[in-house]
């Protein structure tokens, strides 16, 4: 899949919302707009990944990159990943359960 169609999902489930995912989504949207005015990264909301203990969760697809415990302070590094160096933010990966990560990629592959 070409880089132009990269999708960035922010969880808007109950737990992530309580931790501020709605506000984080808006800040990420603003930051991406500044760094990616052509919109190569499409920002989306996701109902719930099921990784509630590790929210706020942000998933980059098709990169198969599952960021957990994301806060606003992490946004510059995530934006750099998406629009700059392309390097993942390792400190935010590998936290969520493996089956949660897998079902997320499986569902995103089906177009959900």
């Amino acid at each position: 899949m070409p880089e132009e169609s990269r999708l960035v999902y922010v969880c808007e489930g109950g737990d992530c919302s309580e931790k501020g995912s709605v506000e984080l989504y808006e800040e990420l949207k603003t930051a991406l707009h500044e760094r990616d005015p052509e919109g190569r990264n499409k920002l989306r909301k996701y109902p719930c990944f099921g990784g509630c203990a590790h929210g706020i969760n942000v998933v980059v697809f098709p990169d198969r990159c599952f960021y957990s415990k994301v806060t606003k302070a992490d946004l510059p590094d995530i934006v750099e990943h998406l629009t700059g160096s392309g390097a993942r933010v390792d400190r935010l990966t590998g936290k969520v359960e493996k089956d949660v990560e897998q079902i997320t990629y499986d569902l995103l592959t089906t177009g959900f």
Binding site: G14, P47, A53, G111, F112
Partner: protein
Amino acid sequence: MTPALLTAIPPGKPYEDLASYAASGGYRALGDALSGSGPSPAGVLRLVEEAGLRGRGGAAFPAARKWALAAAAGGSPKHVVANGGEHEPGSLKDRLLVARHPHKVIEGMALCAYATGASEGWLYLIEDMSEAVERAEEAAREARAAGLLGPARQDGGFRFEVRVVKAPPTYVAGEETAALEVIEGRKPWPRRKPPFPGESGLFGRPTTVNNVETLACVPGIVRRGPEWFRSLGTRGGVGTMLFTLDDRVERPGVHEMPMGATFRELLYEAGGGPVDKRPLRALLPATSSRFLPASRLDLPMTHEDVKAAGSSLGCGGLSFLLEGECVVERAAALAGFFKREQCGQCPACRMETSTLAAVLEQVRRGEAGDYASQIEKIVAFAAGKGHCSLIPMAAAPVVSALELFPEDFAHHASRGRCPGAPAPPR
């Protein structure tokens, strides 16, 4: 059929009060137990077992097995919880039963307490059931004044007290361990099992949690015998069961039917059939069960028969789909209900209910991807997880709707409207 539960109310009275209940043999079984002239505690348990009484709250678990677990468990005081935490769309039977026949429930609780060695009773209702709450409190006062209920005795003799508890109006509050949490003053979140309430329930003590209808069956079983109770059923069914029909039928409301009556007898004979005379397309025995095709109308409503057909009776709130009605709209509404009503405790349940609702909404709007694969993957991921049974309950109507009526889904997914609905004007 002569009703066993919804018996006649004395003229001029809003409910079966103590005097009228006692006049028809009520509290005789408890009185015999208290005076020593009736069966022993083990004898009462044996009668319930021989009657084949199964839970009427939805899970249909054998009542005697729950009772036996609590009876055998150590710890004091033991508790009995009569669960009337009914907040399922389409079911009104618990609130009606308690509002009309509170003494049947209270005597059933007391007999359960006698059999299991409990001294503390909790009649658990939803706070918006104002009529049922009022009658339950009044009935408990009447029974207390008559010496049938009261605080534990110092000499160790049987004594049983009943308190009425009001739960918040949420679906999960009706789950048996969520009820324990509410009674202990916390929010209605189901507990992880085991331990089961019979071993460690309310305040860590052995507790028997039965639906109010289950308990209301017990006085008749003890007084008239298990054979009498079994004979109330038909076609292999045992006893009677309360079913609710909504106002889409000629005679809506709660109907007591022999267990083993057919769906046709409930819907068309007792309920008078749908007001809209279109042919039936599908049955949904309860909100949390699987759809059955209309060809199963003559299926006997026993737990075994309905399970063999792939569904369950649940708590008996029967709804249906008529020809020309779209299953996608109904499935989307049900998925939305479970999304709203899940308690938020278990991540897999949050994920399943949120994503199923979102997939159904996408299908409804004609914006779906590979929805069949998505539903299958979501349900498989969540299966076996969670503290309670809401995960399979939320999946059942959606999965069965897709299996039975794939053409409705395909039409909606490609056009964004129901089969038969006109295309929007250009």
